[in-house]
Symmetry: D2
Subunit: 238 residues, 4 copies
Amino acid sequence: MLRVGSRHSPRPPKTGAVHGRPHGPDAQLHAQALAAGLDTEALLDRVAEILDELECETEIVRIVDHHIPFGVESDLGDGDEWPKILAKILAADILIIGTSIWFGVRSSVCQMVIERLDGTYNDTNEVGQYPLYNTVGGVVVTGNEDGAHDAAGTTLFNLGHLGCPVPPNADCYWVGDSGPGPSFIEADGWNRSAYTRKTASWMAHNVVHLARILRERPIPPEGNTVPGWQPIKVDGPS
Amino acid sequence: MLRVGSRHSPRPPKTGAVHGRPHGPDAQLHAQALAAGLDTEALLDRVAEILDELECETEIVRIVDHHIPFGVESDLGDGDEWPKILAKILAADILIIGTSIWFGVRSSVCQMVIERLDGTYNDTNEVGQYPLYNTVGGVVVTGNEDGAHDAAGTTLFNLGHLGCPVPPNADCYWVGDSGPGPSFIEADGWNRSAYTRKTASWMAHNVVHLARILRERPIPPEGNTVPGWQPIKVDGPS
Amino acid sequence: MLRVGSRHSPRPPKTGAVHGRPHGPDAQLHAQALAAGLDTEALLDRVAEILDELECETEIVRIVDHHIPFGVESDLGDGDEWPKILAKILAADILIIGTSIWFGVRSSVCQMVIERLDGTYNDTNEVGQYPLYNTVGGVVVTGNEDGAHDAAGTTLFNLGHLGCPVPPNADCYWVGDSGPGPSFIEADGWNRSAYTRKTASWMAHNVVHLARILRERPIPPEGNTVPGWQPIKVDGPS
Amino acid sequence: MLRVGSRHSPRPPKTGAVHGRPHGPDAQLHAQALAAGLDTEALLDRVAEILDELECETEIVRIVDHHIPFGVESDLGDGDEWPKILAKILAADILIIGTSIWFGVRSSVCQMVIERLDGTYNDTNEVGQYPLYNTVGGVVVTGNEDGAHDAAGTTLFNLGHLGCPVPPNADCYWVGDSGPGPSFIEADGWNRSAYTRKTASWMAHNVVHLARILRERPIPPEGNTVPGWQPIKVDGPS
């Protein structure tokens, strides 16, 4: 059963939500990756290895192993497992979306994840920006024919709307020859595509670079806070 | 739980499947519409009224009222309700997909429907074409900001790959002003948009026109049958 | 120099324009193809061979060999060579657009061609529909990495808006492996891609099938004529 | 006349090219905007006013006032005026692309500009990255119906591939109601759309924020330099 939320009459954002991201410059960097299919997970595994060398710890969540209903709110109740995944995302420095391609565009599973992230528009970080501000975005795409540019471009653009800064060359993809063919795993895409390996490495380096930079110098809450947001007043004598 | 099928090693298509579409030129025309949201259903209702005037009967299925797992096969078992919806589609002369827009593209529910239609590639009609050959395609889109061209264009293109002929002006959409705003229903989009009314009427007329034409003169199975397909041999003395 | 026309306040369409397309069912079928690059032209050459076997004559115009300014009117003057190309298009039964891919989408040359076709919205055929009604649409795409679905889908959708009916499987593409690589010609894409050959043949057959069907049974001018259009009154006693 | 370059066999990048961007943290910030139409220029004017308040100087180049041939190299000779525009881009801290929408996607003029930027892949900055590394990207879109998400998303994605970091909410658009209608200027879109004004301000703030941050802490040339690039050796005893 779908529950479709309405974006046009948002609740007033919660003020001063603290998402527990460690902002200290020396803390371990953490990337949260979401895999929407087995092949994409296989490519994310490789990206995670590179991130590990760069001292960034990566957790990969397989979306399809969880009960996540359609909708555009952050908690739909009834056993919805999205809230716990969202908590991981909000605690991370880097968010990497992995998607497969079906019919030339990103998969329904990935689209569902993006729609659930719509719920973050109803919240803010502790300074009044959307919660994903300063969470660096990246994307990984696998498919057996064509559509990687569309899937990656749409996804990075959506992440940017949600608040994620995006470094250069923040996508990595593998697709086969024209027309249907073997998948990334079956084709041994990693070992056979120098392009995929190169772009995976560039992407990993750049999300880490930008996350380190933004940890020291986050995008300030000037000119980009949610209208109506107010800082929480501290109780006590003033 | 997602079950992801593999398109690259298709099973040999079933031969000679008969889908029960009444091919007689005088039979009642039938349109099958799939609604992926309440607003889209409201627009489909209006389109159905026009189709009714043109002596085409329309059934609208609300996708989210059914249990339809992710996947790319036509029957995923375990209470999958897609097979009965697919049967309706295959019996229809016209298939109209209704989708809402989220993050600038068609919704996850619509994308899931398209992915389930992928299963028809493993089957053929009675003359060896993909099952949706000669089923005329149309699309209806509602959204509260922007993305109708992308959603409609992607969907019609996918329907064409699946076998649907597409007449001119086969889409109809409503979106609001720039940025989030009221939905189609809330904004009384039908009464307030002459453009939506005009294109709904054009679309309805054209899918009916083309369906009538193709009923008398279907696209022949020459140069477009699935490789490896063989007609069923009739038992008996030869 | 760009001249940007305005689509929102169109001139009243010319009434009763006759575009000289031979409507007799026995007349030679004619396809007009537009090539936006050398590789695409090479693929169009192969499609034209198949069309020739199906008794459909094809003319390929290389867009870049002509002086065609940016704009959205059918005749921009000052040596504009678009009018003579448009005359060819309007006289054809089939219009096939060929485009290369740059940055994941169709090329600027192809986009420019589509924009010039916008000018046809200011005109009608002899029965009050947009001039491209009943001109069957197809598309051919070549690229050296990824983006064929986006380029083909966008183009067929645009042709549908302009009036073209689109048969199933009306696109044919070739792209290389992930990342930049050799072009269609350099890679000998035709001989090395069974998928490209298959889809070229399907596309050619289907545009011819639909063109023959529509020649006998064109989409009637019911519910799809341009608002305000009036048939030309024949002079004489009434 | 089109000259189509080939991306698959790039010339070895020039080494150590210095583009003259002032890297001192106290230097005036400079944004280079490219307008592909009058309406887009009008919206860029407003963005420039906000940037001015943020002490970022903006220059807007009207693309159609210059002779810029189709192609994918940085200098096509024969009076090509792209090189002087490219020099401005490479000297800027911020690059903002302005595009109109035609047929649901970005205009041919904008697509041509993006294709010309392809030529920068044959060059590097002084540390071996693509020349646009650390040039912050943004996009502005105007149209009279629908397609802003597609146009903005594609453009920001392309800028990211070229090397531009993209801050959150880096796009600003205006489109009218469903269907063709008055343009941004005619509709007084700026004064009538709170959404367009809000997103223009967010975008302006964020490109400036990120440009200031990257001036102090540019993305380091680690893991993202062009293969084969070598720093220029300094003459002298070693």
